[in-house]
Subunit: 383 residues, 2 copies
Amino acid sequence: MSNSTPRTFNIVCIPGDGIGVDITDAATQVLTALASAFGTFNLKFETLDWSSKNYKQRGYYAPEGGVEGLKKYDAIYFGAVGWPDVPDHISLWQMILPIRTTLNQYANVRPTRIIPGTVSPLSACASDPSLLDWVIVRENSEGEYSGHGGTTPSTAHAAHTVATEVSIFTRVGIERIMRFAFETALHRPRKLLTMVTKSNAQRHGMVLWDAIFYEVAREYDGRVKYDKMLVDAMTVRMVNRPESLDTIVATNLHADILSDLAAALSGSIGIAPSSNLDPTRTFPSMFEPIHGSAPDIAGQGIANPIGAFWSAAEMVRWLAGADGASNDEGLVEGKGVGNMVEAADCLMQAIANVTEKGVKTKDLGGKSNTKEVTDAVCEEISK
Amino acid sequence: MSNSTPRTFNIVCIPGDGIGVDITDAATQVLTALASAFGTFNLKFETLDWSSKNYKQRGYYAPEGGVEGLKKYDAIYFGAVGWPDVPDHISLWQMILPIRTTLNQYANVRPTRIIPGTVSPLSACASDPSLLDWVIVRENSEGEYSGHGGTTPSTAHAAHTVATEVSIFTRVGIERIMRFAFETALHRPRKLLTMVTKSNAQRHGMVLWDAIFYEVAREYDGRVKYDKMLVDAMTVRMVNRPESLDTIVATNLHADILSDLAAALSGSIGIAPSSNLDPTRTFPSMFEPIHGSAPDIAGQGIANPIGAFWSAAEMVRWLAGADGASNDEGLVEGKGVGNMVEAADCLMQAIANVTEKGVKTKDLGGKSNTKEVTDAVCEEISK
Ligand SMILES: CC(C)[C@H](C(=O)O)[C@@H](O)C(=O)O
Ligand SMILES: CC(C)[C@H](C(=O)O)[C@@H](O)C(=O)O
């Protein structure tokens, strides 16, 4: 590919509900500014109206074949889903969870650090923000989110009603997420991986999880340091010794909980990104801020767009194939153009410059609205 | 019962492993001092050697019929279990988990607050410790700790190995813990109950959990305020708005995680108590600090005994039947002698006086060892 023919990436946006709409809008503006500032790649956006509002009217989020249809794009940008008038388990199981599993997005990656202009609620990290710098690798395809289980009798009202939740762990599923986590740790400055489990109380799937971790660990001996934590004790370590952690790997549910805690400890849930990756690059990966649809502030133009911008930066970095994925073991490098890595770095720097200056939303202690933060980031990019 | 015939309570101690031994020893000393200072009740101690060391020699923790044998005591005082040379899932499933379920200890109660002389790692709570004052009610008999599930083929080494963890939720199990939690909230100054769930991603057992919560809630309308949180978002609320929480009810696994986080946020895992209650008082309840056996500091005489003392205070309070349990709905009042409530308060005050003075172990920033803290608390009691 010559320098004069910028590569085009087709991005499909699913803004979803509530502030998902505001922040997806902000993210596409910032991404457009980024592409035109660099001129070496193009981003073409399409938008799908898979929202709870439409679900109420039509009876579905994604139409028949809709999730399959996502396979033709280069990446998916997701806002947020969930609205008070649709039970959460319906909105999630009809949209976000099928996307993650159908598109083989088995690795959910959640970096957390304290960006300039934000303050950790932990005294120690408030004085030294460098203490907290983590990447959480979440198993994103099975475990506690398998969806198996049921209720008998099907009404909750019988005196003897019993319901089950069945977590399913497969060797394939565990092995690939462990390998991905070790590869991630290998490309981090500190090369330390902490594996989280609850194998003391959960003696089947979690024991398999542990066994396969140690198996894969042998391949990385001498290259990656590793240790093991019980999920309950892990919260204590995150609070008390953040500097002792680097890369973390955990199950679908455990990492869901730990990554929200991580975001809170870093100063705001509004800044944290989440990448749902198909590390084999067979199907498009999906990028979304970790926050939800926030019905209470939706449509007011005051949502914090930083989590959305950081997610956008992760998308650009993934498209550039510069995420530390290797060709070994099915982790395939991206085929983006070279300086998209610079573009991702540029976006992260723009975010930092803007928050450092104090242009930030209320949740970060600032006074700006979504548009003001977005404009400021676009302006930094074009500098 | 006349004032001149002090009632005797038979307490069975299971020190277990590691620092469990040191702190059980400290707790019995303090309890003995308390009983003799009050003179209105007697505590008679017996000790069972159900340790990992004995397991290695004999092949069992509790002997045949051992757990059943606990039924003849008035209460169980538990240290800690777990030692590096026995896999955790064995030590737990052979001892602590069977005790909890066999003795119908379906409610695990974990108060958390910041006691004098301890400092929260959260800046906000470091300046105003009163912001954090919670009681976590943990479902202690089923859910994610049901033990169901398996591995097929039974070796982890097959390429297609699959393992499951099956969480079981019953109407009876959910209803009784919800009722217990509402009763607990009703007796707290703020009368607020927050229910934790993950019913957006776990759509069977967790949906039943939610439904029964709202059913029971109707009985308390106007008497207890209540709200619902997803477990991931709950960690954020605990960090950011501790003052917005009071009583919390969650499943076995969720509450396990949240209560360790709570202890960390309050300043030390070494001070937090845990009561495993049979609210029907058919069988003895069990009291234990939430910390583990801490192999790294075992036998050095430096373990923090405060969690053990607070657990001892909770035991005395439970024996006095003054825990807010009511006769409605199967929650039966205790038959202890009246001023055991005063005794429990006296022990809590003694702890506070000692930690406030700075007589505390290293983990709390002090320089004292277990014996010095224990002696200081005994001295306070006899004042
Ligand atoms: C929206 C929901 C399914 C979700 C999850 O639990 O996975 C969210 O909390 C997240 O962390 O992405
Ligand atoms: C020892 C272990 C079974 C335990 C649990 O997970 O219940 C501990 O973490 C606790 O919280 O009591």
